[in-house]
Symmetry: C2
Subunit: 423 residues, 2 copies
């Protein structure tokens, strides 16, 4: 190992701003191939093409009530003291078609969702009528006028044929599934999930199942990253963690870059005596995008490109690793999936407490959300150093604290990045 180079390289990091760093990655994010999945397997996948309405919706004049389909003109003048009587000449359950045309003075018993006869222009609900049987005829009386269009959903009320139903790049959740099923899309074209290799480095790492040892810690970052990869829509592959053996680490990383779409390492990129990435860049094996970001935690975050693969070397500090993933690796995964917006949503919130820590870098502070009387507050976590692990679990947001020499006071407006939640 060339220690002199390492010492040299590590002090020559070109620092970029966090948003610059995000922009440096995007040109290298390739759209992954498409594949068809069954609608029942499509939840959480991203549409690879826009979906259009093959027909209007509803595609027939639909009854909105259980009652009688009638011609509104037949109810003209109906009143409490002057009921109108109509003859029931048809019965139309949902899914059936009208059997006979309605003549003036006649109506059809109809169920919610059934097709309204062409001659009818309204449906009166059952509860507003009184049924009579008279000389073998079924009749009902009605004591008020019914307006044309009542309880009748016209063709195309929600959508016209060829209307855009769903944009490409949209994630499929319950609402999208409803649309797809309604229009007969039992197979959906989506992008395949990025295969993301995750690998921790550091000889201090114990496997999760190993007993504790003095001076060593368990490897938690790979498991956390695996969750984060799934939240983003990727498929995580946990590789064996590698000790601080530079040659071995390099070989492993290059092999992973051959086999996976994205490789994420954690640890080993700190300004220390061991630095895989600097060496890989020096050798020309990968092309560096950035190796230092003006942010806390995780300033020594590195991103590099190998062909159409991406390599992220995140800090080994749990807090910094978590933040580095959400800011840089997640957008890459979402970009490969063709997501219409690969970044986590941001919102303007009110700072719930003073934040007095000063910093000349942008700080991404773990925090919790609170809604109160129409306002949205964010509360910084009590412990948010890069090495702190315990506050990740209680964080709803990353509060974006710009460089400051004075800190911020409660009540000021700040930007917060909404962290992924849900399953």
């Amino acid at each position: 190992m060339n220690k002199d180079f390492m010492q040299h390289a590590k002090f020559k990091r070109n620092i970029v701003q966090p948003d610059q760093a995000q922009q440096l990655i995007m040109p290298y994010v390739k759209l992954l191939e498409t594949e068809h999945v069954a609608l029942t397997e499509a939840r959480g996948r991203f549409l690879a093409e826009p979906v259009l309405a093959p027909h209007p919706y509803p595609h027939f004049r639909r009854s909105g009530m259980d009652g009688y389909a009638l011609r509104s003109e037949d109810t003209k003048g109906a009143a409490t003291d002057k009921p109108v009587t109509l003859e029931v000449i048809d019965e139309i359950p949902a899914g059936s078609l009208p059997g006979v045309p309605l003549r003036p003075g006649t109506a059809a018993r109809i169920m919610t969702g059934a097709k309204v006869p062409d001659e009818a222009d309204a449906v009166v609900m059952l509860e507003m009528t009184e049924k009579l049987e008279q000389e073998g005829q079924t009749l009902f009386t009605l004591k008020r006028e019914i307006e044309a269009g009542t309880n009748l959903t016209p063709i195309g009320r929600e959508l016209q044929a060829q209307d855009l139903l769903l944009e490409a790049g949209r994630m499929i959740s319950a609402g999208e599934t409803s649309v797809l099923a309604t229009f007969g899309y039992h197979q959906v074209l989506v992008r395949r999930r990025p295969r993301v290799a995750i690998c921790s480095t550091g000889s201090e790492l114990l496997r999760v199942e190993e007993p504790l040892q003095d001076g060593r810690i368990r490897n938690s970052n790979t498991y956390t990253l695996a969750c984060q990869v799934q939240d983003a829509g990727g498929e995580p592959y946990i590789l064996d963690s590698i000790a601080d053996d530079l040659e071995l680490a390099k070989q492993r990383v290059m092999k992973a870059l051959e086999e996976y779409d994205i490789v994420i390492t954690s640890g080993g990129v700190s300004v220390g005596d061991y630095d895989i990435m600097a060496d890989l860049v020096q050798e020309g094996s990968v092309t560096m995008l950035f190796n230092k970001v003006a942010m806390r935690p995780g300033s020594v975050t590195t991103a590099a490109v190998y062909g159409d693969k991406l390599l992220f070397a995140l800090s080994g500090n749990p807090g910094a690793c978590f933040v580095g993933f959400e800011l840089f690796a997640r957008p890459a995964i979402r970009g490969m999936l063709g997501a219409s917006d690969p970044y986590l949503p941001r919102l303007e919130a009110v700072l719930g407490e003073d934040y007095t820590k000063i910093n000349n870098f942008t700080r991404f502070v773990r925090g919790s959300l609170e809604y109160k009387e129409g306002r949205v507050y964010v509360h910084p976590a009590k412990l948010d150093e890069s090495g702190v692990m315990i506050t990740i679990k209680d964080s709803d947001v990353l509060i974006v604290v710009p460089p400051t020499s004075t800190g911020f006071t409660a009540g000021q407006q700040v930007t917060a990045i909404l962290l992924p939640k849900g399953i």
Copy 2:
């Protein structure tokens, strides 16, 4: 079929308020059995027991920097014009233990995350020192005093042994995974997922892959419900949809209640000529909890109990079916999982536009969220009748509109229920 009974029963529904309906269900929600899952499979599962810290964290005095571990008293009086020189007698990579005790005037080269020697009480970062080689000795100079505790994370900084790490009933996401891995929980005790049978009723229903037919619609509710069940943490099982044959429907529902934890039907519960539920209740096969809720959409939502199984008969209208699931079935699923809060989160938001529809029932209006300058606004969907499907996909919230004879104006405060998002 006893039409007279049906006609009778359907007008004799006992109406309950939505929150009463939720409370009527909860006593019948049983906690499901526990099972161990590997940490890598635990995402989205619910902890069945509280998790305690088996040891403090960190469990050794950890260096927060690459630099030198030293005795702060040795740096007393150090200044630019009066540098202190210390001898480096040890090198401690992360994961290794100190090799020799530090005597006064000596220090140890140390990496981020490594164990600080017992005799040292601070770490100075490498960049603040100047290295010298002199007569076979490695030395460094330092031009300022270092306070005790600098860059040194004490034992138990984040957690003490026996501290509560995670409460029972908590869902496992990235942050929880980080905690579990850190403390060696490679197997996690969770509750098994509820098995939820989903079944649409109605002879108007086409399978999703069938060509369109006049007067008939495709079965979209089962697919939407399957997504919603997964969002809630359950395992959906889509059963064949059943036509409006009362006997067949009853048999199918009872068989499903034997085999699954929860059965959800959609359609067939409207005030019409066909009503499975009323018949099952009348026969004593199931015990009714409620069969009408003072809400829109979905007033004809039914819940019933069969032993320790739950049956939900939701409206066949897509909008009403969606809302009915989120209000009633989701809390039952989350309750069976032992979730600490089975209900969707609520927030107070500002109504973004006038809402003029009047109603004597509480209305759950699909809406979108907007954050602006520290305030949170909700915008009601343009189309929100119970039969409307297309606006489900764009909804972030259900706006809770209480009974009103005047409507509500933009700027008023309203309660909104946050809908599940994410994968």
